[in-house]
């Protein structure tokens, strides 16, 4: 009975931690299998420990090329989507105009649509226009679907901004441009940064829309997809593990810096 009571009291913690384990289990498997030395073409069963793949991460033809292509795409897509999205967010929060509801739904719709539908319809357009599929069609598609997410992230930040700060700047004889650069932009920066990060992650990891609109161009997710059919090299796990470690370290460092800054302020 005491055990049952204990279980009852700890139910939330146990269930929550089990979910966390479910979420992290594949990452553990990816990391462990990056040290595998598979016998066949597929890296699905454990054979023996080896650091071969870590010593030669670019050893598989096409892998590092696809990785650098994905990075370039993600950078340009982030730049484009952040610029366009921030402009839209400012227009939506700061001005009231007749087309506002229509604009709002045009922003919302891409987020409320299965990716495969957007991918298929964009491909239809490109085919009808006779466009050559490749880098540019992927970039166009990525900017399109990242845009809405940037708008939402920036909008949330700009909305919670105190308008009196800008009025104060103007009272202190700052021109509109100066007010924007010295006051508005720094306050909106965390929202813009969050939107940009989101856009980068979405673009870098996108598969479905890229799969439809890439033609024969191979991004990193496309490379992984192709290798799932032909044979998975261990190097994929190496890249996956390295990405994970780098990102977690970045987050931890930024959290530590943020904590220290807060403490200094207090």
């Amino acid at each position: 009975m005491t055990f049952v009571n204990w279980l009852k009291r700890r139910f939330v913690a146990i269930a929550g931690l089990l979910t966390l384990a479910y979420l992290l289990l594949p990452n553990v498997v990816v990391t462990v299998f990056s040290f595998n030395h598979p016998k066949g073409r597929f890296n699905y069963t454990w054979q023996e420990f080896s650091t071969e793949a870590w010593q030669d991460p670019c050893g598989v033809s096409g892998l590092c090329a696809s990785l650098s292509l994905s990075l370039q795409l993600a950078l340009w897509a982030t730049l484009g989507a952040t610029l366009l999205g921030t402009m839209i967010a400012f227009a939506l929060v700061r001005y009231r105009f007749r087309a506002r509801p229509a604009v709002n739904s045009l922003i919302f719709l891409p987020m409320a649509m299965p990716e495969v539908v957007m991918a298929a319809s964009l491909l239809t357009l490109f085919l009808n226009m006779g466009a050559r599929l490749g880098f540019w069609t992927i970039l166009i598609a990525h900017i399109m679907f990242c845009l809405s997410f940037v708008v939402v992230a920036v909008k949330a930040r700009v909305m919670s901004m105190d308008p009196r700060l800008e009025q104060a700047a103007q009272d202190l004889y700052a021109g509109p441009f100066q007010t924007f650069v010295r006051v508005t932009l720094p306050i909106a920066a965390p929202g813009i940064a969050a939107g940009a990060l989101l856009a980068f992650a979405l673009s870098f990891d996108d598969f479905i829309i890229t799969n439809f609109n890439a033609g024969s161009t191979v991004t990193f997710p496309m490379f992984v997809w192709g290798s799932a059919q032909r044979g998975t090299p261990v190097q994929i796990n190496v890249v996956g593990t390295a990405m994970f470690v780098v990102a977690v370290l970045l987050v931890l460092v930024s959290m530590a810096v943020g904590n220290r800054r807060n403490r200094r302020k207090a």
Partner: protein
């Protein structure tokens, strides 16, 4: 998806101040700001959807070219031939959504109310999987659920697989290439999209409400049922939408973890578009999927009374 502190995309903060209405010279400013982005969305999002609708009523072939003939045959063909895939998509996506809610709620609750100083760490761990390509992580499930692997062996010994096989979720002593594997993959892939909105709405609840319920002799379960859960509804609504919508159009989990018997609508659209090149049927399928999703979303938002969500 690497943002830790940001609210989930579908639930923006309520508007606090009414935007001012500018006069004179500044009247056109919002339109100039909107122009490039909106043009992008109109040309590369709205126009393609319309274009696709027109493709679905075209007839012809790849060699002779297509012509709009207002034949709705493509829709009839699509529905009569692929209705099992449609039904499967809805079933799998709905199961995954329910599972995400059941699994995600305790974790979101834990982070919001019980985690204390561990809160940030657990939050990072929830987001962390996103840092590795989701395709690599989905492939890892092939290892976890491999035939004769520890997970399948354990399920076999506990006779769980007998029950799931009787229900039709698995076949024999395999988990891979069965509906269970696909739903498991879908649940895994979209779980963070459920946890984050749940967490943001739970975190906003004033802890004094719990104390008040306690003072009024409510048992913990009653407090949850009458106070916590109703207040977390916005999170439940946006979480279920963020899970159900992408899951219903997904074809990756079915392709990597399933078999030809688990094909979903996304698989059909993908193969029609990229391999079979039957554009009218593919366009019709994708249009039906879009219409169905929009109908579900509108109805759901109306029903749950969270229209300010959009």
């Amino acid at each position: 998806m690497a943002t830790v502190t940001q609210a989930p995309p579908v639930a923006p903060a309520p508007e606090t101040k009414p935007p001012r209405k500018p006069r004179g010279r500044g009247r056109w400013t919002p339109y100039w700001l909107l122009l490039p982005g909106l043009l992008w969305l109109l040309v590369f999002f709205a126009l393609p959807v319309i274009y696709q609708a027109s493709t679905s009523v075209q007839t012809g072939s790849l060699e002779e070219g297509y012509e709009v003939t207002w034949h709705f045959a493509a829709y009839w063909d699509a529905l009569s031939e692929y209705w099992p895939q449609f039904v499967r998509s809805v079933l799998y996506a709905a199961s995954a959504t329910v599972l995400c809610l059941l699994l995600g709620y305790p974790l979101a609750y834990l982070i919001a109310f019980r985690a204390g100083r561990w809160r940030n760490l657990i939050m990072v761990l929830v987001i962390a999987p996103f840092f590795t390509s989701f395709l690599i992580r989905t492939l890892a499930w092939k290892t976890i659920l491999a035939d004769g692997g520890p997970v399948v062996d354990a399920l076999n010994t506990l006779h769980v697989l007998d029950v799931t096989a009787w229900l039709g979720w698995t076949a024999g002593d395999r988990v891979l290439a069965t509906p269970l594997a696909v739903v498991c993959g879908l649940t895994y892939n979209f779980l963070p999209f459920m946890i984050l909105p749940l967490y943001t709405s739970l975190e906003r609840i004033d802890p004094r409400l719990h104390e008040a319920a306690n003072d009024l002799y409510a048992r913990p379960s009653t407090t949850f049922r009458r106070v916590t859960f109703p207040l977390s509804m916005p999170g439940v609504v946006s979480g279920t939408l963020l899970t159900f919508i992408p899951a219903s159009g997904d074809y990756i989990n079915s392709d990597l973890l399933g078999s030809t018997d688990t094909r979903m609508v996304g698989n059909v659209i993908q193969s029609q578009f990229l391999r079979i090149l039957d554009y009218p049927t593919a366009a019709a399928l994708s249009f039906i999927l879009m219409a169905a999703i929009l109908a579900v979303v509108t109805l759901y938002i109306r029903k749950s009374g969270t229209e300010d969500l959009v």
